[in-house]
Each structure stands twice: as C-alpha cells, then as structure tokens.
Homo-oligomer: 223 residues x 4
C-alpha cells in the first residue's frame, strides 16, 4: 500500500485496489479481497430474492385459478416489497463496499451475520402473506427487517472506522452515515404499530419500501 | 474518463472500462461497476431457471411412474419454453450491457425491477402446467412475460440514453432497439388470444420461443 | 486480435484473452466475453447440485428417525452419484472453456441448452430414489444423462471448430475429443439395460460415476 | 511461472497469480484458475446457507402464528448455528485459497467432495430441528459436520503439499494446519455424546459454533 500506488488508483483504469492481490504481509494477517465477499453476497442476495416466489402457492388442479389468484392478493403483495427492499439493500451494499480498500476477518464475519438476516427474509414475508391480521406476524416482519437494518449500520460503521480507502470523500462518508440511520427506527416504529393494528403496521412497511424507491429514483438526482 | 483512455479501451486487452475502478468523483456520485450488476443478474437468472425443475412433481412411491410421467406431459413442456426464453434473455442482457460504459443507481434499480420479473417466471410456468385449459392461467403467463419484455425495453432505453459507451456503433444500437420492440407486442397479443382459447394462447407462447431460438441460431448469421 | 497480443497472452500474467474487452467490431457482431458465460454456468451448476439435497425427505416428528433413515438408503445413494458426476462435468466444462478464445451467440445458446440438461438432473435423481425397481425411472435417468453427455460433446465440437484459441495444443484438443466420446454411449447402454433389470441399470450408472472419479484421481496423473 | 514474475506478484497491484491465464503448458496439463473454483464454491456456500431458511415451516392460516412460532423455537435455533458455522467455513476456505498459486484437477475434485458436504448441511439441520431428542438425529448431525471438517483438512493438506505459493509464509501455513486440526475431533467427540444424551450433544454443537465465532472476533486480534 505504497502511497504512489494509492494515488494512482483513481487514475489508472483497470488497476484498482479492489482487484489487487494483497501483499504478503497483508495475506498472513488474514486480509482478503473484497471481490470474493461481493461474490458470496451477490449469491445470497440473488437466492434470497429468487426464493420469495416459491412462497406463492400454485392453485391445485380442479380449483378455478381465477378465484384462487384473486384470493391470493396478499401473497402477490408480499412478493413485491421484500424483493424491492432487498434489491435496494443490494445496491447500497454494493455502493458501500466501493468505499473500503480491503476486508478483514471481522468484517467478513459481520457480513455473514448481515447475510443471515437477508437470507431470513423469505420467512417473515411468507408469515405476513399467510397471516395478514396477526400481530405476531407483523411484529416478526418488522423486527426481522429492523435487525437487518441494524446489521447494515454495523458493517458500515465497522468498515468506516477500520477499512476506509485513503481517498474516500468525507462528505460522501457522512452522507452515507446519515442515510442509513433512519432504517432501524422506521422498521422498529412500524413494528410497534402492530400492537395497535397489524394491517396498519404492514401498510407502513409498504410505505417504507416506497420511500426507498423514491429516494433511489426521483430524489436520487440531488444525491 | 479522459479521451485517450477511451480510445485505448478497444485496443488494450484486459484494460477495459468494464473492469476499471470509477474515478473518485464518479464514486461519490454513486456510479458503480457494471461487473457487480452482472454478478447479481447472473445469479438471479441462474436460480430462476434452475428452480423451474422443482415444479415438476415426482410421482409418489406406489404409483407406476410410467403412467404418471405420461400424464405429466404438460409439466415437461412447461419446463422447456421458459428455460429457453429466460436463457435467451440472459444472452441478450449480457450483450446489452456490453454497450454501456457504466451503471448509475437508477439503472441498477431498473435492473432490480427487471430481475423481479425474471425471478417471477416459475410461478406463471407452474400455473400453466397445472391449468392447461384455464383462461386465467394463460393470461397470467402472457402478462408476466409481456411485463418482463417491457422492462427489458425500459432498461435498454434508459441505458441507451444515459450510459452509452462513447465508441458504441450507432447501427448496432438502432438494431438492438428494433429487435427488442416486438417482444411486448408478441406476448401481449398472445395473452389476448387466451380469452378465445387458452390452448391457442399457450401454443403461441411456444411459437414465440421458437422464433427467438431461430433468430439466435439460423437467422443469427446475418446479424 | 493482433498477433503480437496473441503471442503475449501466454506470457503476461493478468493480461489474457479471457479478461479482455472485445474489440469494437467484435462487439457489434455479438462476440461476448467467456467470463460471463462462466459466471452463469457456475451458478446453474452450483444450484443444481445444491438442490439435490432438498429431495431427501426429513422423517416427520413422531417417526423414529433411525428407522426412517435406514429405510431411506436409496435416497442417500441417489444424492452422491449425480453430485459427483455433475461436479466432474463442472470441472470438465471449466477445462474446456480454457481452450476457447471467445464465445459467440450460438455457443452461448448451446450452453443454455446444456445447462438446461444440468438443471434437470434433480428430477431423474429423485425419480430413481423413489422408484428403485421401475424400468421407466431407470430409463428416464439414463436418457437424461445421455442427452447431457451429447450436449457436452456438441458444445465441445462447436467450440473446437469455431472458437479455438490460436495457441491451443492439437494433442490436448484431440485428447479431449476422445475423452468425451464414451459418455453418451455409456449412459445410453446403461439405459437400455433397464429393460432387462432396472437395478442392474442403476448399478451401471454408479459404475460410470466411479470410472469418472478414478479417471480424475488415480488415472489422472498420466494425463 | 518465471521467478521475476513470482517476485513481482506481491508488489504490482492488479497483476497477481490468481487472475493470470495459465501458461500454455500448464493449460495442456489441466491446471485451472483458482478464480473459477471460487465462483463455484461461493455459489454452493451461498445456496446452502440460503436454503436453510426454507426448512422453517410457516404456520398454516387458521393457526395462531404466535403459538406456532413459540413451539418452533428449535427450528429457529437450528437455523443459526449451521449458518454461522458454514459462513465461517466460507471465510476460512477463502483465506485458504489465498495461499495457493493454482488448482489442479485433483484439487478441484477434492473441492467438489467438500462442497458436497457443505450442500448436505440443510438435511442434518432439519433432522435435528424436527427430532430434538433423537440419538440418531444428533449422531447424523455430528457425523455430517465431522466429515465436512475432515474434507476441509484434506483439501488444505493436498493444497499445502502440491499447490503452495512460492512466497507463502511458513509460519502462517503451520498456523493454519494447527487451527484446522481440532475440527474433526470436536465434532466427532460431540457426536459420541449423543449415545448418552442427544440434547447434550446438540448443546456441544452450539458451543463449537460459539468457539468459532469467538476465535473469529475477540481472539482474532492476536492472529
């Protein structure tokens, strides 16, 4: 990590820190390439969202599918928000890793815990689709996404403190810190609403997904 | 993104824009590498097609599998067209991304929506296999693939307008625009046929898959 | 694809034809990078083998799992040969692609068909595990792997004729041609044995897997 | 593999042995790039852990999910240790491959056998979750992870003896050898405890996962 190489990273196409082989001393200390974390993370993200569709039941032969599909509207609705929310988390995880110059073993382990939350998403999704009016289901859903958002903040702060690129833009870093903060609060607050009304709680989860979509598209121009 | 580097991209093996680290300013603005979008997309495509086989039911022990398999011909037929169609979409998605020099956050988000359609494919496939004579099933199948084709056009046009490589061949670009246009119309038209005859509608979906296969193989020489 | 670059490929670490960006003319003609085919193929291979374990039924609570597991020996046996055989196909697909300098659209499409066979493997595997004494099941299993082996030969010969690296070793090429030839014959022959005895046919499939394992390990030193 | 190139590997960012194209003679002998093994391994690891969540049953509509979820505590507990243990194995597999300069066909085949063990993990996990007090279930779980740990040692020792990088640090190598040794013994010993008490055996599996987590995080600083 000599400084001439560091300053060259932003300028030389195709020769960046992300593709480099860690130096011998870094290797002995367990530093690893971020590219392989990305491959594993992309795999878990891709599988978790693709498994969501398996939760939608196929009406059995004999039943008229028209009636069955109309009756399954909650299952279709349940497919969209977690797919979109998880997809946006994938985009953000992607953008986050761009700011780090390497990964250490603790960062990898924190990512394993984060991906465990991502891979868990099909369960609360199916639970809410099956039990639309249950306080427990809405509570499990909100808690699950709140813990995921907490883990997302945890890997960001660990990486920000220990693995930040030397050339990272301080304003971008504090912008990310601010933008990740509301996630746990929004999901935690919506989960508490489940004690009053499970349906209102679920509507709030849909609203959170809409906020994320809007901040990626319409509002994204400013950022 | 100096122009000498741009002109060098086509000439220097292994040093292309696709593998490059975004410059510092690009990174702060959320520009990301296309390679990671490819990894996520390849994952979703690979899983979606591989899950299709899970929809084929195994005859229970006790049943004579010979009879059961003969009775399941619709399920086997249902496995092939979506696998081939999704496989060709993977080839085309691949070829499309070659024309773009980078990805921005809106492009990634559009791709998440597109991959949501790809990942949904096992559901209408299983629905048609189970309900061969149902108008609803044929309608859901056609609508699902029509929306997928619309999203495919949307990500192409967004990328064409905002992310095109400086050295992209204008004739290749307009050729792609033309070749993607019929997709939504073909699927939408075949879906409407389901109101008259579900089986005719499904036969048209098979014909569309054949058209795509022929355009990849026999007719592909001209392109 | 100037010849100085070609001769340099084998010598310069990290600058190979496989990572290179296709030249502008190649791009317009639909030539694509082999690396993305590998990513898609690795995904399908990885998912197909991992789904095999889902076919093993979990004894229900109430049943004594000891008895149930002893009664399920065919399911465990059924898990191992397709995993090992598919794993070896992955190794061979990998080694095969090393000989090609690029991929064209027809080659990609042939690979989609080949991967459709790979992704189909969990179905005949579960069929044989459930119906050990059925001629139909043994026949479906053998035919399925025979078609997979035929497709494997097809992509090899298409690539050998159209996409071979300029510096490919002719002896290695003809060695691969010879080594892939017996696959369809072995599976086709074992399938025909199913008409006489399904169990003998299945024993032959196990023997084929053993032959492949031995040729990878003990006999592999000579090659 | 000239020695000037070897010595340059640790110094030149982006030009390492892991990304290089094998020389022509190496290619003819079946040497392959480690990067593709990583892609396949990452896929199997990612899918195996993501499938674990599918084993958690969704309470049917009509049931009160609150009661059902409380009754399912063993299933939730069963999700966490294999996810964490497999995740740590992914980190270690990752770190292990950093020490090797290339892969040969036997190494790939040993990795296929190792990944077969990884992909098998959802079965014993579901078995223990369903049959908490069964000696057979606890025995199958422990044996399965013991065989996985044995395979992990086998690929390490094969790679250490045949594929080690010329510049590998001998102390790091012997440190890895020591750290992988206890795995089979810990799982084998915990499996034997199942004959006395299945629940005690399962508690020991949880304790092993905790040991691995602590050695990755708190104790990891020293290493």
């Amino acid at each position: 990590m000599s400084s001439p190489a560091d300053t060259a990273w932003g300028l030389t196409p195709g020769h960046g820190p992300r593709g480099r082989v860690p130096s011998r001393s870094a290797r002995s200390l367990g530093a690893v390439r971020i590219t392989r974390l990305e491959a594993f993370a992309d795999g878990v993200f891709a599988i978790a969202v693709t498994l969501l569709v398996l939760e939608i039941g196929i009406p059995k032969s004999g039943e008229e599918p028209g009636h069955a599909i109309t009756g399954q509207w909650a299952q279709y609705f349940a497919y969209v928000p977690p797919f979109v929310t998880t997809g946006i988390m994938w985009v953000n995880h992607h953008a986050m890793l761009e700011h780090f110059s390497r990964a250490d073993r603790r960062f990898l382990f924190l990512n394993v815990l984060f991906l465990m939350c991502i891979a868990f998403a099909p369960f609360p999704t199916a639970l809410v689709a099956e039990h639309l009016h249950s306080t427990t289901a809405a509570l499990v859903y909100g808690t699950s996404f709140m813990v995921t958002a907490v883990m997302f903040n945890a890997i960001w702060h660990y990486g920000r403190l220990h693995l930040l690129r030397p050339d990272a833009d301080p304003r971008a870093v504090s912008g990310i810190t601010r933008s990740y903060l509301p996630g746990p609060l929004m999901y935690g607050g919506s989960a508490l609403v489940a004690f009053a009304s499970p349906v209102a709680s679920i509507a709030l989860y849909g609203a959170i997904a809409c906020v994320y979509v809007l901040s990626e598209t319409v509002w994204g121009r400013a950022a």
